[in-house]
Subunit: 121 residues, 2 copies
DNA sequence: CCATTATTCAACCAATCGCTTGATCAACTA
DNA sequence: TAGTTGATCAAGCGATTGGTTGAATAATGG
């Protein structure tokens, strides 16, 4: 998978979780698979709307679907969720490491000047 | 903060990271603060557009801003990123725990039937 | 075969998104 | 003070979003 495709996947995944209905669906699916009708039940919207939400989650790789007679059970894909936390944590950790370096500099003798140059790093 | 407000914050944060330009800005800010002009430089869009992107990140609580003469340096807020990983990891872990329970049932004597009922959980 | 159930497709609508251009505001500097 | 730099505001535009209604498709069960 090239960088652009990975980017596209992240776009879709973050966008998918930006909607409260879809986040709620993910929360429900963490407890096991469910059909479209079951997933629609708690909401005040049509099953068509929920079907679209599921398509968004599926296009983002966050869920997969199987077949059971007329039903199309939806399953959570936890590995995709992990990709998201990996992206976030990468930059969170870089940021925190930078803070630790800054603290170390401030603790050293000529603190102020060293910190000012670290800021430009 | 009530549940609806927390929901709204998550909406904004996930939506903010759904855009590749904004993710790139977050990546840049993980290495230290930067001004609007600096952040705009790598992209082929106007500074106005970048300014709007930063407003989106700010409204999501992902960045804060300070003042340095005409400049408005942007700083990453790593704590907000942590809120996102917490949300994701909660449901990821619930899902994985459920899988571990399922494995345990399948490993036990009357595996098949027990697993089928667990599926409905 | 026919009716029912579960889901999706299609067309449409109001609202929002990302971006643009042009103007304005704020703060420094020659 | 006048000009310059850095950033934002405002209005507009094409594309996309989340939702609807209505019709179509697929699979089951009597």
């Amino acid at each position: 998978m090239d960088a652009a495709a990975a980017d596209d996947r992240l776009d879709r995944a973050f966008m998918a979780l930006a909607d409260p209905v879809r986040r709620s669906i993910v929360a429900r699916l963490s407890r096991g698979p469910a059909t479209v009708t079951e997933l629609a039940e708690p909401f005040d919207i049509t099953t068509q709307a929920v079907s679209k939400h599921i398509q968004v989650l599926e296009a983002a790789g966050l869920v997969t679907r199987s077949r059971d007679a007329q039903r199309r059970p939806v399953h959570l894909d936890a590995a995709a969720l992990e990709t998201l936390t990996e992206w976030i944590d990468r930059y969170r950790l870089i940021h925190e490491q930078r803070f630790r370096r800054l603290d170390a500099l401030l603790a050293s003798a000529d603190g102020a000047d060293a910190a000012a140059s670290a800021e430009q790093d």
